[in-house]
Symmetry: D3
Subunit: 202 residues, 6 copies
């Protein structure tokens, strides 16, 4: 299993990765080893231990390994300490590809993590930024067709039961965004996850 290429998906809160790029990860799960790294346990919107359990269930359903950094929810800083922790994970797992939140984001935790990830993973061959509801000025150029995985993506979101009712984590949001980008990418009324590449290699 360790021979498979590694894709690392970094998120600020337990459901951020699922919201941003679970459709792509589900498509890649056969040929890539998937590792989720969550900076916080998201304890501001529910008990952190509870959310960590939900994160684990979702990671299991996704077939992904999970790493929890346990940093304070809502107070994430682009600190040297965070950067070094991410660098150590990179050194250990040697990912070929990293998915991180897009840097232009009005949410404190998202933009700080994005900025830290860009520095920590600057040597990784491929680095892609995914969208969240609070992302701003996002112009993606890499489009992954998730028509075959969008339903399972929504099921993963439901595993984060404590977040039911939050628009940013809803099927409503992820299906609307997927439809919007499918049309903008001129792929018809399908479902697409959109990414801003920092670096793609071939």
């Amino acid at each position: 299993m360790s021979a498979r290429r590694v894709v690392l998906a970094v998120g600020a809160h337990p459901d951020d990765v699922e919201i941003g790029c679970a459709g792509a990860l589900l498509r890649w799960s056969g040929s890539w080893r998937i590792v989720l790294v969550l900076a916080t346990n998201g304890e501001r919107t529910h008990g952190g231990a509870h959310r960590a359990t939900e994160a684990r269930k979702a990671a299991d359903a996704l077939g992904a390994q999970l790493e929890l950094l346990g940093r304070p929810d809502g107070r994430l800083g682009r600190t040297v300490d965070l950067i070094e922790q991410l660098e150590q994970i990179g050194a250990r797992l040697r990912p070929q590809r990293v998915l991180a939140p897009a840097p232009n984001d009005s949410h404190q935790d998202h933009c700080q993590l994005a900025s830290a990830a860009l520095v920590a993973f600057r040597m990784v061959p491929e680095l892609l930024f995914y969208e969240s509801l609070s992302t701003t000025r996002f112009w993606p150029t890499y489009f992954v067709d998730v028509a075959s995985t969008i339903d399972r993506k929504c099921e993963l979101l439901e595993l984060h039961q404590s977040q039911n009712g939050r628009l940013a984590a809803s099927s409503e949001y992820v299906r609307t965004a997927a439809r919007y980008w499918s049309m903008k990418a001129r792929r018809g009324a399908g479902s697409i996850e959109a990414f801003e590449p920092y670096r793609l290699t071939s």
Copy 2:
């Protein structure tokens, strides 16, 4: 009636204005005089005379005056001739506000008209760019709530019967975009038409 402020909505084809900004125009129709200016009759996707008739029906339903420039569909150029024709319309109607397609657009007619409108209406107090399916790199900062008018907007689109079945002119597209921007503007799962302001005044 002539004492009301004039908003001019410029489109390349008979249904472009409805797709891009009919929700806002419907909201403003009580307090503004609305004039639609269409650069072409859209004869490439159906007979031009037929589409002009559809355009007139939709303009009537919107309570708007209609001006047809009759330029060749699919071959619009940002020519001095087009700019001067738009300038003459501006001189005659003295609009307070102009709505035009956004300049970054991969459709020939849209981007050329956008560029011409920016020059022709540079002295108009307010100039806003609306989105179409083919708009690229669009980052709006002006958001009009169209929850109360989105259904009537979709009815206007249906008056362009010859375009039924085209995704770019569908309820599917306009409702998805309106939902997407409502969420991005942090207004919940509502309906919003989004605009890039070139200039707004107060």
Copy 3:
């Protein structure tokens, strides 16, 4: 009075709000409740207590409520702590509109406060950035005519007596900028305060 919509104007130092947007605030003062939030007392260029007194006089003359955060002048950081303090003010006052310094600014306090304000007030319906002398790469699209209030704006600046003689706080600067933007906005040789909208709603 509490039924009036609230506009919150955030500044790094006691005279920043007056310099950046007092002309607009004066125009809006009849129909909006105005609250000024100052991050520091500006003690680096004069005694902080003295400057706080000047700030209060100016706020009174403007008809605005004043909140002083008392953070260290010249050492403002975009910390979680500052963001949370601003968030609490937002939760208490529920502003409809926030005015903040523009993010591209070569002054430490301005750019850090701008960045914090964007995060703290990301759910507020309207967020506008104003200019200061040290703002860089500023391209405004929202223009408020302040011909009727520019004189009173300059009087407000004079209430910050300790700052007399500083170009960045002078009538010379604010009148020049107001004239420059009036001409650039194609409104003749008048007076305009210019803003970069992050989000405007209608």
Copy 4:
């Protein structure tokens, strides 16, 4: 005289060069040979022959050589024909530096000439863009102190008598812009002409 380095200042109309960069040209006139190239005679706002005469007077007062291309005012296009005419002038005069209108401009003639100049003079060592009243999204990084020449610049503008009363060509405009950029460049309440460099060499 031919041994002096040549600076070529390109303008769309007879007074455009004076408005945009006469202060810098006056400073350089001792050590550079100055050539003005005007694309049109500006016949839309006055008789073209009359304006050409004014242009010649101003060029004489500036100590500059004048070349008139006589293209149609208000109808300038970024045509191959214009580009080749500019290339021939470049081949003949071998300028070290070219000053041209900034490309983001809502005036038809300005933006088309800017675009043509960039192509025609792409091999010239130094190419700088100057501002006009209709320039948009201008962020200059090269600042020329014109405190010693701003008065003479305004006298040059007065030689274009037919344009008296036009704000875009007024002392009011050029003095306001010069003061604004002096303050933004942190040079106090002086007078500065601002340029966006396309390429500067040393």
Copy 5:
């Protein structure tokens, strides 16, 4: 053979495609059908018939099909006519991927072709922009390792014998650019062709 996916590489002059992306095309030549479309015969720097012959030799060596549009060298315009000709080629060949010159380019023919290609191929799933010596403001995010093909790429350039001695078409240029981007993409002192994606799909 027709079952293979088609990559279309569009160039303004006979050697532009080889300069910009032959390394990538050589890598893809096994699994893709390659078609070169040249807008002009490049008759300005040598006889057009001669250059067409060179282009054919290079295309043969690359294993690519060649289409010559025979438009006037140095006078390419982003005309409706050119756009429609490209659209017809797209309709006939149904490419999965198009490579075109990057739009920011100070060479007349390059920037006009780039702009036309974006419109003509807006429905193609993948559109990538390649660099030339005259490209400006180029920030690539898609990097193709051409270590195994850079030597053959340089041999292809030598087949354009009439261009020997032109820096823009030299091994010196293409090897320097390939080394520069390899280092910037953090891939060591190798050879990489860099692309700006307009749209990539997966």
Copy 6:
């Protein structure tokens, strides 16, 4: 000697200034007094004391004064403390020109120092950003011909013996970048150091 104008070159690590701009500094060394300010001793890639010694040798060979701030390598933060230390150096030396790393850089220390330098030296007449291997989205407009100094620049790099073998500090890198920018600036196959100006004055 103190009457000479001062150019301050700020670097994060002992060899950063040599890599980014030693060619220009060597050209200016006759007419300018050169001061190097290094934020860290670069102890992560070798003993800090050893690297400081190397830095001193290189500064001597360059004819420059050296100031070592001794901050922690790899952990540089854009703190108020760093900004104030740089401001004090500015107040003491009164530089006419500052060279700093470009702000868009994926290396923690580079981007943090760049951001601090912009604030600390905002009143300095001239501020230019230089490139490093990890700089991203760099579009320079100021080009210094270093044909006459590139060999000595490479000798300076060799004085940082502990860094031999690191690509980012190699002759391979600096010669490739110098050749690339010479060609992009249309100066032939020479050697040019490229800079993004924040502000240049004349």
